[in-house]
Symmetry: C2
Subunit: 388 residues, 2 copies
């Protein structure tokens, strides 16, 4: 490895974001956050690290294995680097904003760090943008969060978005109702994950009929809903399914332009959800745009909540590249006052610098302007196109 390559080497799953992309990410992030703000979601900012104990409280055990630990030399207690911001926002809602009126609508953006990437998401640092609706357990709240995500994605111009509605708690609830043995549960969960109807059928017991029916109902909402409505499920499971159906119908009744599918037995990737959940995709874009769903803010005893996180990397992959900024080259001797006026008027300037390549003639200045990637040059008080 050369010295340069060695210096450029970053740990796996971490990256430098270069000009163009970094500006684009910030722009889209702030547009998403603005969309949340206009729907009444108040921005909060959580710390990069906090005590392990509070960071992991109420979080899925899975999160603990994903979280880097640091020793705090001040308190001599262990801290964790945030690997998901949702539990932090839940903590803020329960503590500092415990007395704020409910429903409490909060939004956040920031980077999180994970110990290991996954095959689907090799990044170990990624930017989350999210919103949480805390203190309400209704289907209207479930729906608001889905529509909020869709409106924000529409606002940044992401085309062909689809929502997959899920009920990640349903399989376990069915296992409980039908008294499925522990071994069979594992087999069934693996079979559901692979959408393997034959493997589900291979397990004996009444639960298999229901699971097969749920697997076969999965698909576009218009076709799935009538099938799901016909299903008879045990108490508890039935209520959950009807909540899912109600949310699906509310989303369909909105006029947001997104495809809706339902996959009631999808469990993968939901870490702390306790009810109706969803995953967002866009046609031709690899990976999820985001995911969310119902949970308890602050852990199992906490307030009813629903929320979602959007993933900046996937969203950026789904958007056309930003048009590069057109810049105006300011030759040596351009008065500061005029330069500032151009910038105030919205122009992007690149000033010639004494001590750098000094272009003393107009021809040389035009050449230098091109070398610096400018499209225009400021000559005699005018912005002049550089041409080819």
């Amino acid at each position: 490895m050369t010295e340069l390559a060695r210096k450029a080497l970053l740990p796996a799953g971490l990256q430098d974001v270069l000009p163009g992309t970094a500006a684009r990410e910030a722009d889209i992030r702030e547009k998403l956050m603005s969309s949340f703000a206009h729907a009444g979601y108040d921005r909060v900012k959580t710390p990069l690290v906090e005590f392990e104990e509070s960071l992991l409280e109420g979080a899925a055990p899975e999160l603990a294995t994903q979280t880097f630990r640091l020793m705090d030399p001040v308190s001599h207690r262990m801290m964790g680097v945030r690997s998901d911001m949702t539990p932090q926002v839940g903590r803020i809602a329960a503590t500092r904003l415990g007395d704020a009126p409910r429903p409490l609508r909060l939004s956040y953006s920031g980077d999180v760090l994970r110990i290991k990437g996954t095959q689907l998401r090799p990044e170990r640092q990624f930017a989350q943008v999210g919103a949480e609706l805390i203190g309400v357990s209704s289907a209207a709240a479930d729906t608001e969060i889905v529509l909020l995500a869709l409106e924000a994605l529409e606002h940044v111009g992401l085309p062909d978005v689809s929502v997959d509605l899920n009920l990640p708690t349903l399989p376990v609830r069915l296992f409980d109702a039908f008294g499925v043995a522990a071994d069979d549960r594992e087999t069934l969960i693996a079979a559901l994950e692979h959408r393997d109807v034959a493997a589900v059928k291979a397990v004996s017991g009444n639960v298999t009929d229901v699971l097969v029916a749920l697997l076969e109902a999965a698909g576009p909402a218009q076709a799935a809903l009538p099938k799901l409505k016909k299903l008879e499920l045990p108490l508890g499971a039935s209520e959950e399914l009807h909540r899912l159906i109600e949310v699906a119908e509310r989303i369909l009744a909105s006029d947001l332009d997104a495809a809706l599918t339902i996959d009631p037995v999808e469990m993968a990737g939901f870490r702390y959800q306790t009810g109706v959940s969803f995953t967002l995709f866009a046609k031709h874009v690899r990976g999820e745009l985001g995911r969310g769903g119902r949970y308890r803010a602050g852990g199992s005893g906490g307030e009813a909540a629903t929320g979602m996180s959007l993933f900046m990397d996937t969203i950026l992959r789904g958007l056309a590249d930003a048009k590069p900024v057109e810049r105006v080259y300011l030759p040596l001797g351009t008065p500061q006052r005029e330069a500032r006026k151009l910038r105030k008027d919205g122009h992007y300037t690149v000033a010639a610098l004494e001590g750098a390549a000094e272009a003393k003639t107009e021809d040389a200045a035009r050449k230098e302007a091109r070398r610096m990637g400018c499209s225009f040059i400021y000559l005699g008080g005018q912005i002049v196109p550089l041409g080819a």
Copy 2:
């Protein structure tokens, strides 16, 4: 400690940023970044962690003691959590942007983490916003960075900004030129830090006259410049001082409305600067707004560079609080389409939610709107002020 207080407890120097403040910070940060962008500075984003070796390369030894370390389970190498973004930007300039045309103008924003706070800056996490001008060693470049900071601070409306120009390498250069012994150096550095003329004079040798003259020259630029111009310094030191004088005169010649002071022997807080440096203050605001100066990008053998970092916490303290957003309450039954149109038109809405406090009459809706902190209510297709 109650359970709630325990949950709310964060490690010393770390904090939750609450509604209002978090939005304000993001808004001001993006305005500063926009100001840099309009002056041709390209945004980059650096990773939260990277290999310790590259993170600390070219950084002051002081930085190493401020940096949290993590073991990377993928590579089994030590990583560091960024405690300053400037060395990371220098690394990007030297590697990924090694072939980009010079001068290279880069900007960045992000949070950094330090192991311990200082008395002046007890925060251990704080948001930096900065810009680096790489590949030019001229006085014009030194000046550009100072004026860039001033223009950005003017853009966010921060009043009464002042610049203190410094030359943190000057004392050591003088010690070398005058052959000052190691013990005396320590005494003199402490004396300079406390601006203690008597303590400087107590050290014998020719260097004291020069140091006292420099201490006594310090102050507003208009008065300091004639005094500094009269000083005769040994070769090397003299060149540095004349660079400082040239930069001061260039700043005075610009018409930006900031007070300029010169303190040529100020060394405190400069970690890697190699030439003309500066600190930014605002009247009536505790602490520095930012600091910067000349350095070598990528360490001692690296490219000529100058740059600066602004500190979001101090800047926010210097600005009036943002006016709270005025919100429109949308009673139950407001059509989604109308709600979206209001938001598209720039309004901030708070939608009534089935399952939350349901206000079925107009009076109840008005009461609920007030409870939710709204200033307006949407009734009969109109935005109506709520009144008192």
